[in-house]
């Protein structure tokens, strides 16, 4: 019973902590203001998550899970064409409301490149989870992921939405050139 209560309160805390971290980013993240913002204490955060790094790792995992759930729901219909699916994914990713998630991802990616042990598994999962979502064919999925990441890098750096959206439209139309001739279905 105690264990269940613990897990439930950790899960509730993780939702609030994730909201805070998405909003404020990883830069200068410290436990005291975070604890204050989520009506907790640094001691309770450490009790539930172990360390600041483990807390951030949990936030990154939860954030990615939520994104995957959202995109899978959005693209779950068998009636949706590949082109429509990629158009919808890009529309969501490039929405200004999504910007804090992208910034958090690029910040975490940058930190993990410097020090992979800090967020164990982050770099691998940041690729593997998306590959399975984007196509059952890992080669095709790799190209699709490269496109999304490259366009997001460009958008976050230049903000040139008009130029990039025009390129995404050409790219989405060109994806049919990559599709194998038989038996191609999205990974569920």
């Amino acid at each position: 019973m105690t264990r269940t209560v613990d897990l439930e309160s950790r899960a509730r805390l993780l939702e609030r902590v994730s909201e805070y971290v998405v909003k404020h980013g990883l830069h200068d993240l410290s436990l005291r203001p975070l604890a204050q913002a989520v009506d907790s204490s640094p001691r309770m955060l450490l009790y539930h998550f172990g360390s600041k790094e483990e807390l951030v790792a949990a936030v990154l995992r939860r954030t990615r899970e939520r994104q995957m759930e959202m995109f899978e729901k959005m693209c779950g219909s068998d009636l949706m064409t590949e082109q429509a699916m990629h158009g919808a994914v890009w529309a969501t990713m490039s929405d200004p409301k999504f910007a804090p998630y992208m910034i958090l991802f690029f910040e975490a990616y940058s930190i993990a490149l410097r020090d992979p042990k800090r967020f164990p598994g982050f770099l691998e999962n940041a690729v593997e989870d998306w590959l399975s979502f984007l196509s059952p064919d890992r080669t095709i999925a790799t190209i699709k992921l490269a496109g999304y990441r490259g366009f997001m890098l460009d958008l976050a750096a230049t903000g040139d939405r008009k130029r990039i959206t025009a390129a995404v439209e050409v790219w989405v139309d060109s994806l049919e050139l990559l599709t194998p001739k038989k038996g191609h279905r999205r990974a569920q």
Binding site: E107, L153, D154, W171
Partner: protein
């Protein structure tokens, strides 16, 4: 090349190798002796700050990539797909420089000093667009094609730096170059 410039480049070589081994974050607190084998004062003769060093490394890499692209674009015997393949291999060979770029990119999102040299305008489009337009693409299609070409290469480099899986990423890029050859013809119509 004058002696000062040679000395500066030697420092950059040493510091670049040090960052590749220890990561960019460690640079802020590392001593000049450790990273370049010189005193802090000597390093200051060439660079105002640690950020200045990173900016110089990234600017040098950017020049290196730009020169390679200019060379490929100037060779009339190459198709754009051959240029793309060659440029991809060039980036793969310069993986340490790309890692530094991505590391600095994450910092630039919240640090104006880094932002100025990371997000500074690239002139890739000014180099690529005229070549595509001469081949018959409209200005809009040339811009879109160049944008997506650069995006796929950068995104694939992100994947490679994260996973080190050259087999998968190289196979994907090979498939992409084959598809982009067809796409290019469509856009020229």
């Amino acid at each position: 090349m004058d002696a000062d410039l040679q000395q500066r480049n030697r420092h950059l070589d040493l510091i670049g190798a040090w960052i590749a081994k220890h990561g960019l974050a460690a640079l802020a607190s590392a001593s000049a002796e450790d990273v370049a084998g010189v005193s802090e004062d000597e390093l200051r003769e060439f660079f105002d700050s640690r950020e200045d060093i990173v900016a110089a490394l990234i600017a040098r890499d950017r020049t290196f990539h730009r020169e390679q692209l200019a060379k490929l674009l100037a060779d009339p015997t190459l198709t754009n797909t051959q240029r793309g393949r060659s440029m991809w291999q060039h980036y793969v060979d310069a993986e340490n420089g790309m890692r530094l770029f991505f590391e600095a990119y994450g910092i630039a999102l919240h640090d104006e000093q880094y932002g100025r040299f990371i997000f500074g305008a690239d002139d890739w489009f000014a180099m690529i667009d005229p070549v595509l337009e001469r081949q018959g693409m409209s200005s809009g299609n040339a811009d879109a094609f160049a944008t997506l070409f650069i995006a796929v290469i950068r995104g694939a480099m992100m994947d490679l730096c994260a996973t080190g899986n050259r087999g998968r990423v190289n196979a994907a890029m090979e498939m992409w170059f084959a598809a982009s050859e067809i796409l290019e013809k469509k856009l020229e119509q």
